[in-house]
Symmetry: C2
DNA sequence: CTCCATTCGGAAAGCGGTTTCCAGTATGCC
DNA sequence: GGCATACTGGAAACCGCTTTCCGAATGGAG
């Protein structure tokens, strides 16, 4: 392993000078020395030891990202945005997937803290269990006390900077759009009750209906994934329009309906939430609520990195946009 | 920041003892001391500084993964598998996305080398340009010389352990299956000529047709993504069956055909390659060649981590399996 | 009771950088 | 010419943890 010392010796300069030349420093080095060092580094094939650098500097150039599941296109898009932004700052991204286990979320924060990553990004819905949330907060606070930066994508419950999608309002807007098409009897594939994102969307939808004087929707709980949608939609009774609280569930619902010979949108309308990219080519194309996922990921990076140590955490609202497509049709 | 020294002092033991207790060591520590140290660590909220640990040990516990694009479900599945396997070894995964730029692939290897990651996983198709490949090899060799482990998912061109999917054979097998259904006139949406994965699949398909005495397929080049499939399929002339060299392109092709009112599979059959999970609910469901992506990601981790320093790199072949679904229909 | 083999705690030397503090030289100004 | 003022290079003190090497203590065997 070629070390900085090897380079310094080879170039006939001190360690300090070599360091200043090769790893950005505020001080500059004379042209002669600089060139000698650069040449030696190239000849020897020197590569900075980031671990040593991190130790000496007390700060790494890695950002930690905690997601539920990378295979879920929602998180893939978020991660992609975050990685692009991180790269612009010269950082790399370390990813931890919790597979929806809140305990592992806590464990990852601890691990990332040990890594002394520059910032931690937490994404995915919070859960209603206050104990879990408070234990996560403790872990995050510990991290922040030692200078760590944190941002969250989701609900503002962690006392940290948050990118907060307007789940409630988006779902409400969707409800109004669907009602405007003449639908009055709705079912909501609401996901698990303990996931706040799911609950917010479901509640926002129901509230908007109530505001319009329409009957309460039929609410069906189940898992937050494709199979959850598949199962839940089977229990729908008498609705003309089904709202799945995320696109992945909507896909499951479409599959189930198709397999039972129910035509969408002729027999029933279906809408989702998120506007997942790879799902755009579905037939019928899915009515949904668009969230700028990649952008949110990038914003989270900026939010975490910006601001001073003691600043009050900021909450950045993210607007959603209803996108009407083929899976919904106007009622006569 | 609480350091190990703080813990040692608080517990009234030496640094060495504290280290042995808190960060796995081959030597064990007496019960009394051990408990004292553990208690102090808990009280003070000690968290190992992994950078220091990495420096002292000369080896980190992170694995670097280089992918083309996380949003592409192919890589998301691969990454997921790799992350699960890494976690089983107590490692974390650092991801770099190249967005299909070979230069960035090289740059990432260099960065990951600087990070002294335990292993580097390179995934995604190699390119035909020998210069790019050899520069990547140089970078990888440099890394391996300093003790780094490398594994590759794709073509065995880097002189490192490789998980090698049977692209050629899989495509050939697909061709034979489609021919068995009566198709004789094929078009191949072949992707870019410089991507070896694309070229292999295209070639394997054509070879199998030749072996059956069937006419050569119409070969249409274009980008390796959804839009590439969308565009390329427009040029198909006179084929009864279209083979897109990956599923994502097939999705684009389906979309284009639908928008032109061409029915699949009634008017034309379509097949893809990879068997991407989130695409399973497409209508019509896609005939494709299944690759066990998550498993391949996990295997890559094992392959990189296993074996001794000087071992001859192993090549692990991965079999594919043809999956016939609705997007293809038998020809009268 | 002595002696040897273990076991266990501690001191200290790194691991590979960064950065502060010093000193020497060159420059600017009166 | 004399002196204050940048610049620039180098010595050395860390950053926090691991691990080797020692010495002391413990326990079993003879």
């Amino acid at each position: 392993m070629v070390t900085l010392e090897d380079v310094a010796r080879h170039a006939g300069v001190s360690l300090a000078t070599a360091s200043r030349v090769l790893n950005g420093s505020s001080r500059n080095v004379g042209r002669t020395m600089r060139e000698r060092v650069e040449k030696s580094a190239a000849v020897l094939g020197y590569r900075t030891n980031v671990a040593a650098q991190t130790l000496a500097r007390g700060a790494s150039n890695v950002i930690g990202l905690v997601v539920h599941d990378l295979v879920d296109p929602y998180f893939a898009a978020l991660a992609d945005g975050a990685m692009r932004a991180a790269e612009a700052h010269g950082h790399m991204v370390m990813v931890g997937t919790t597979h929806r286990d809140p305990e592992r979320e806590i464990a990852y924060v601890s691990t990332l803290n040990a890594q002394r990553v520059r910032a931690v990004l937490i994404s995915g819905s919070r859960v209603t269990d206050p104990d879990v949330t408070s234990r996560l907060r403790v872990e995050l606070d510990r991290y922040r006390e030692s200078g760590g930066r944190v941002a969250c994508v989701g609900q503002d419950l962690l006392g940290v900077g948050t990118i907060a999608p307007a789940n409630r309002e988006g779902a409400a807007e969707l409800a109004r759009s669907l009602a405007a098409l003449g639908h009055t009897r709705f079912a909501v594939l609401a996901g698990p009750p303990h996931l706040i994102t799911a609950a917010d969307r479901s509640a926002g939808f129901a509230e908007a209906l109530a505001g319009l004087g329409l009957p309460e929707p039929q609410v069906i709980h189940g898992p937050f994934d494709r199979d959850g949608g598949y199962e839940a939609v089977q229990e729908v009774a008498g609705a003309t329009c089904v709202f799945a609280v995320n696109d992945v569930m909507a896909v499951g619902a479409l599959a189930a309906l198709r397999s039972r010979g129910v035509r969408v949108p002729d027999d029933i309308s279906v809408a989702g939430f998120d506007d997942i990219g790879p799902l755009r080519d579905l037939t019928p194309s899915l009515t949904t609520v668009r969230l700028p996922l990649a952008e949110m990921g990038a914003q989270a990076v900026e939010l975490a990195l910006s601001g001073e140590e003691g600043d009050e955490p900021r909450v950045v609202p993210v607007e959603c946009e209803v996108v009407l497509r083929e899976s919904v049709r106007p009622l006569a």
